[in-house]
Amino acid sequence: MSRGLLIAVCTAIYIFLMLPLVVVFPISLSSAPYMQFPPPGFSTQWYDRYLEDPQWIDATLRSLYVGAATAVLALALGVPLAFALARGRFVGRGLVDRLALAPLIVPTIILSVGLYGLFAKLKLIGEWYGLVVAHTVLALPFVVLVMVAGLRDFDRALEQAAEGLGASRWRTLLRVTLPLLRPSLVSAGLLAFISSFDELVVALFLAGPNMTLPKKMFDNILMEIDPTIAAVSVIQILLVSIVLVLIGRFGRGLQGSAR
């Protein structure tokens, strides 16, 4: 009896979780000139408007390359950091561990305002690589969490075997360790990408006149509730779904990284 009750309660909670993701689909295909639900008819006008507006396309492209660059930089810095944390024995390791995860806990608004002040002085406001550096700080904890979990489950006998057979440390790293860690690397890189692609607060302060997709969406939501946003939302939901499918297929399970 109580199992049935539990399932009923959870179904309601799942509806609550999924409703906002589902509701944008019909609105994005509405023929009404303004927000109306249920939509009076079918039309692709809001997708056309998105695709024909150079500002939207420009913002989307910027978010894509900032996200890609963030993923690359976060992996380049985060993977060695994870190795040091998972395998190194050195003074202050606990402190480094806390520092690496601190961007998750410190309110993003505080980091944003701090970087805004610093970047204004360095004339980096509006520069895409400034945004990449800031997003990398925020993405680093995800990379560290996923990679440290991957390294913890790693069977070191395989490395010892390679070294025992005469492989150098670098050769072992490149031919044995990293290929075996590929699922973790894929997950870490894709999570870093999404975290940058969706990020608003830092971009609000640092992007200057150059829009990223979230910043453009924020401005549009503040100004009007135009169904173009619904079309953009659908595109974003589909993109994130594809990334999650990629993680599920080629990456290390997300449950593992959440522990």
């Binding site: 539990l6 395998r87 024995r89 002040g117 610093l118």
Partner: protein
């Protein structure tokens, strides 16, 4: 890479964290003390108006945490105790919203909760109400939006805690004739307390610094500290005051987190 390499591989990341995380934050917090007095802190913590904002933030964080726990426990519990196939599906429906842009979700809630939104239309159509309910630009709207964003952070640790529980305990209790409610109160709840605690702490701490949801769903009527900081920097250009507000918010956030960390450490070590 063996332990011989020590801290060396961590260096590039540490340089980044020092230059673009610690330095900007510490530098910005310094602005509040540039006058050589604590006047800006006196303003942040002394004036009724700003004290209210801190109180509001705290109150919202408490409510969000409570609602997330109420919804997150059954969900984490169900996913942890169902068959692997259903569990995967259950995870997808928790993780898909987690990785969907907060902006997309906030926009969707505006569509759902507005005066002419989906909910109000529907409730009027079925004749339950005659005037639209105020669901947006108030406490309710912010609460709904924030719970939606933070719920996954509660579900995951509770799921983990239920999974770690030894099923033999439950089987033994069932064998001895305990009712399912009794099993829940006497076995599941006490043994999953660490998960409940971990989830509550992370949800509470993240709530304190929330910006996007209160900025959009609060409609200027629900003021939280992060929204106030943004206004002080971008509209009023009052850097020293924004800096003092940030310092107080940071101390609160890290304080709650550190307190929680130290208490779990004492419990967890056998």
């Amino acid at each position: 890479m063996s332990s011989r390499s020590g801290w060396l591989p961590a260096t590039p990341a540490l340089v980044l964290l020092f230059a673009f995380f610690l330095l900007p934050v510490v530098r910005m917090l310094g602005f509040s003390l540039e006058s050589g007095t604590l006047d800006w802190y006196a303003k942040a913590l002394g004036e009724q108006l700003y004290l209210r904002v801190f109180w509001n933030t705290f109150e919202i964080a408490v409510f969000v945490t409570a609602v997330c726990l109420l919804l997150g426990y059954p969900l984490g519990f169900l996913i942890a105790t169902t068959t692997p196939g259903w569990a995967t599906l259950g995870f997808i429906f928790v993780l898909l919203p987690l990785w969907t842009s907060v902006l997309v979700r906030t926009y969707a809630w505006m569509v759902l909760l507005g005066r002419n939104g989906v909910f109000n239309r529907w409730l009027i159509d079925i004749g339950l109400i005659s005037d639209p309910l105020p669901l947006l630009h108030n406490f309710t709207g912010v609460l709904i939006g924030m719970v939606h964003v933070l719920l996954p952070y509660m579900v995951l640790p509770i799921y983990g805690a239920v999974r770690r529980l030894d099923p033999a305990l439950v089987a033994a209790a069932e064998g001895l004739g305990a009712s399912s409610w009794r099993i829940f109160w006497r076995i599941y709840l006490p043994l999953t307390l660490p998960g409940i605690f971990a989830g509550s702490v992370i949800v509470f701490v993240l709530s304190l610094g929330f910006f996007i949801t209160p900025a959009l769903l609060g409609g200027g009527k629900v003021m939280m500290v992060a929204v106030l900081i943004e206004q002080e920097v971008r509209q009023t250009l009052n850097w020293p005051f924004a800096s003092a507000l940030s310092a107080v918010l940071l101390v609160l956030t890290l304080g709650v987190y550190a307190l929680a960390q130290s208490s779990t450490r004492q419990e967890a070590r056998p």
